[in-house]
Amino acid sequence: MKKLLAFIFAVSLASVAWADATLINGAGATFPYPIYSKWFDEYAKMNPGMTFNYQSIGSGGGIKQITAKTVDFGASDGPMTQDQLNEAPGRIYHIPTVMGAVVVAYNLQGVKTGLKLTGDILADIFLGKITKWNDARIVAENPGVNLPDQSIVVIHRSDGSGTTYIFVDYLSSVSPAWKGKVGKGTSVNWPVGLGGKGNEGVAGLEKQTPGAIGYVELAYAKQNDLTYAHMKNSSGNYIEPKIESVTKAAEGVSIAPDFRVSIVNSSNPEAYPISSFTWLLIYKEMDDHAKGEAIVNFIKWAITDGQKYTEALDYAPLPANVVSMIQEKLKAVKY
């Protein structure tokens, strides 16, 4: 018995003492999870002993955990509101990392990718005003497409989500009715529809439900072979969601110094209208010197060399002017 106790004691002591070099923990958005995990993997290969552990618990969760300081950095696709920023125990910086598109995916027998939709129609579908796929307004946008007489099944996110924020931010900017009735946020009061958990859950529901319409991040739509719409932008052009059209969305938008900027419904004629930045959330004053230095070095790498991994995963790289703005901003971070 004594020997056993001594052994247990020795083992627990040893495991406490055997600490790793640096482990940095982060949590948040599911939208950029594919690119983040790629980055952290590549970065760990180049910098052994420097590991970034990222858990994709959703943007809402990311904001919550960075505010509670249980993680070293957060991640979100919806910028924190002024109230949320005031609640945090320190000054939080939003650092854009990549841009991405939220696509409107549908499940319609015989209709391929490229159904043409406008923001107005989309808002009315999600408001429950348009209920049939062969509604006159959808038909008018799509001459020559054989639209079935089928009910539309609306699918949205059930959890607090940055993808939702981007989507309803867009609907609010194109439809006064949506803005007045529902508004924007990481979770809203949906007038109609079914809920799925995470981008994964929505993609799954879409696949199983004939007549479904929903919104997911571009990479999730591609990996699941979902069909998705071309959206009419503010200049009246129908735009396919892809890297180039997302990049265009940031052109001509003046970037606020705190980076909390919305690029939905961009005025650029070639822009895909439901595009957004996604942000890392870090404290301006880091508690831990080693971790702070590691995070800043990682960001410096991610916004420059790291951007080459974006394309394969269907994200758009940051515009050059934003990169230099971030580099300037990082100088203010204290650790």
Binding site: S37, D41, V71
Partner: protein, 293 residues
Amino acid sequence: MQTMDFDKAFQRTKAKRYFMDQAIVYVLFLCAFVLLFILFSILTHLVINGVSSINVNFFIHLPKPVGEVGGGMANAITGTLTLLFLAVLFGVPIGLAAGIYLNEYADYRFAQVVRFTIDVMNGIPSIVFGIFAYVICVLPMKTFSVLSGGFALGIMMIPMVTRTTEQFVRMVPNQLREAGLALGAPKWRVIVDIVLPSSIGGIMTGIMVALARVAGETAPLLFTAFGNRFWNHNLMQPIAALPLQIFSYAISPFEDWHRQAWAGAIVLIVVIFSINLLANYFMNRRHRFLNGQ
């Protein structure tokens, strides 16, 4: 006359009663069979879907980045073992001591209160233990950690260990205690040298069953152990665990991750199964001990 009537009635209803008897026994058998069938179909399903993904890589490699094929769950397997080890450290001493106290020292009223508390604790959903550990470990320490995960699992074990310890200690015959006391041994010595050795098999079984139950828990780990894509040897940092890894792989949209989730499930079942076998072994030893062999 009366016996004749009775006899007739007996004959008349005999077939019916015989049929009822057979039917009910048959229904009972079916229920028992359903039980076997459920376990069997779960295992077959697991093996069909997961066995092809179990290979050496699965046991020695770290997970790959999202959507990339390959990699393994080495860190999650060791993570689960580490968490279980900590759970035993937290849960067993308290459960054991409380169980002994309840049977050997506590007055009736107090014991009743504690037993009721144990029943209530057993009914608390595991996610609540997770939230509890989050609030009292993670928030003040400002970090998700192995320690908080082990703590959450450990406090889940306490009521189970207490209950079984108490029951097995009670089964030790009073004559044994009296014999010890008659020889002049103080009470504590009787407990340590007579009561515990005679009930240790049963107590070990209780510990193993409790351990097997918490081994598969996901909910208490979500906001404590948190998950980790890399190795971690530091108790104050997040760690991977099999149930967590299975959960996040199963809801992902990637084929390869689905296969690995099945493989992870098999490994987890094997771990739990081995713990159960160990429990069985201790139980058998106890029987032999009590039979004087």
